[in-house]
């Protein structure tokens, strides 16, 4: 796919790019629909419940029905809300979430954009969603929404710092910010993938990533029992669906990013398993991380806001910086 990007832009090529964009969008929407279904099923199974099982065979159409319901609902805008920003916020949240998917390489040949600074692109764009969440909370003109928006901004900014610093070790080892190069440079055996040499960075990354996703145990922005629903209290119908969609698209993005950065991307765990296509390995690792996110949601309780900030700034940040330091010392002493 990469060679198309170097050709001159003709109407045919533009149409091709557009079609690929639409295909990715369809895949992502399919993922979100069934991720929600499996999340409910998995959590139900872990809590000795059955989960959704009424709509369609084994409840498979439950999420489809939910989405249809959301799209047909009345779209309410509070009278005292800031109308323009209230309408802008869900779109502003979703656009960066979808845009970051452009840099993720699925296999050696299957990727959308090959940017030299792919990792930086991901981090930079995902920051814009925070603005949208704050704006959504503020423009609703509702105390709970405002509180949720404030919490969300504080949390996402605090955890973006350790998230970025934890991947610096990986960048130092591969000497590139290009996600394709990073995935490509990880070895053939599974212990040569970045998650073992960079185990400190990996742990910090996973914790910070869960927090960036606003998921349990860090789901304070939408803590139902305290804030009703957080920043999207006033949203209904398809605007609410957009915020929901953003969250699950980020689940997709983070799972894919973790796979690429730490779990060897499309590499097989053992060289003799190379005959299995790379995309299968990518999907297996990707699904495991998505399952892991559901698993911790079913297992862990929510933490308090002061514990959250303490964990981010006093534990994760120093540990991430220590990891950068250790990696630098190791590279200087043993590699050069």
């Amino acid at each position: 796919m990469g060679s198309w990007l170097d050709e001159t832009l003709t109407w045919g090529n533009a149409l091709l790019f557009f079609l690929w964009g639409v295909i990715l969008l369809a895949i992502v929407l399919g993922f979100v629909t069934y991720a929600i279904f499996f999340e409910r099923k998995v959590i139900g199974w872990m809590q000795f419940r059955i989960g959704p099982n009424r709509v369609g065979p084994w409840g498979l159409l439950q999420s489809v029905a939910d989405i249809a319901k959301l799209l047909m609902k009345e779209d309410t805008i509070p009278r005292k809300a800031d109308r323009a920003l209230f309408i802008l916020a869900p779109a502003l949240a979703y656009v960066p979430a979808f845009a970051v998917l452009a840099v993720i390489p699925y296999t050696q040949k299957l990727y959308f954009a090959d940017i030299n600074v792919g990792l930086l692109y991901y981090v930079a764009l995902s920051g814009i969603s925070t603005i949208a969440i704050v704006l959504g909370g503020w423009s609703s003109n509702n105390k709970y929404a405002l509180l949720g928006g404030m919490r969300s901004a504080a949390q996402m900014i605090s955890y973006e710092v350790p998230l970025v610093i934890s991947v610096v070790g990986v960048i130092m080892m591969s000497g590139s910010l290009n996600l394709r190069t990073i995935a490509d440079q990880q070895g053939d055996w599974f212990w040569q993938w970045n998650f073992l040499p960079q185990i400190i960075g990996f742990v910090v990354f996973v914790i910070a990533a869960v927090s960036e996703l606003n998921r349990t145990p860090f789901d304070l922005p939408e803590a139902e029992s305290e804030l009703v629903a957080g920043y999207h209290v006033e949203y209904s119908g398809f605007r609410f669906a957009f915020f929901m969609l953003t969250e699950y698209v980020y689940v997709y993005a983070i799972a894919a990013l973790t796979t690429v950065l730490f779990l060897g991307g499309w590499h097989a765990p053992f060289p003799f398993l190379d005959w299995v296509p790379g995309i299968i390995w990518f999907l297996l690792k990707f699904s495991f991380i998505v399952f892991f996110l559901f698993w911790i949601r079913a297992t862990l309780p929510r933490i308090r806001i002061d514990q959250l900030m303490g964990l981010g700034w006093k534990v994760l940040l120093p540990v991430a910086i220590l990891n950068v330091f250790l990696t630098a010392v190791y590279l200087e002493l043993f590699v050069k």
Binding site: T8, L9, D82, A84, L85, L88, I115, N116, V117, L120, Y121, V123, A124, L125, G127, I128, T130, I131, V134, L135, W138, S139, N141, L146, G149, M150, A153, I157, S176, L177
Partner: protein, 172 residues
Amino acid sequence: MFNVNFTGEFVAFFIFSVLIISGAVLMVSFTKVVHMVVSLAAVFIGIAGMFVLLQAEFLAFVQVLIYAGAVSILMIFGIMMTKHQDAEADRSRPLHETLTAIGALALFGILFYAIRQSEFPEPEQPLSQATDNTMEIGKLLFTNYVVPFELVSVLLTVAFIGAIVLAKKEAD
């Protein structure tokens, strides 16, 4: 003077220019502060797009990360504490406005003249477009510009400690 060919780059340049200019104009003309910050963020994103067109990807995404992300959120965070329906009262001051308009036009004239007059010499060793400009920036920062770089980091540390001291005083 206006012999441009319509390439993809020109279209992108046009879109980003519109984004920057309209964002800047709206920033001045909006009355609610939060709306101003949002249009400012649009300007920042447009400038990042310009950097991409100039093949400075690193600079572009750092621009998005720092300005469009961090700075805008910081401003929104501060403004969110203010009153919701607060709009700036508009008083009409004709003399003041006329003088401002003349000043702005004069500034535009000077800038336009300067840009039209100046020549951009070719650099002695042109950077090839294929090089990794993140690596080039890093090399320059840690060789030729290491002293200014360290001074900036000291300055930031001083600002950081200052902020902590101020917050501590408030808390006690």
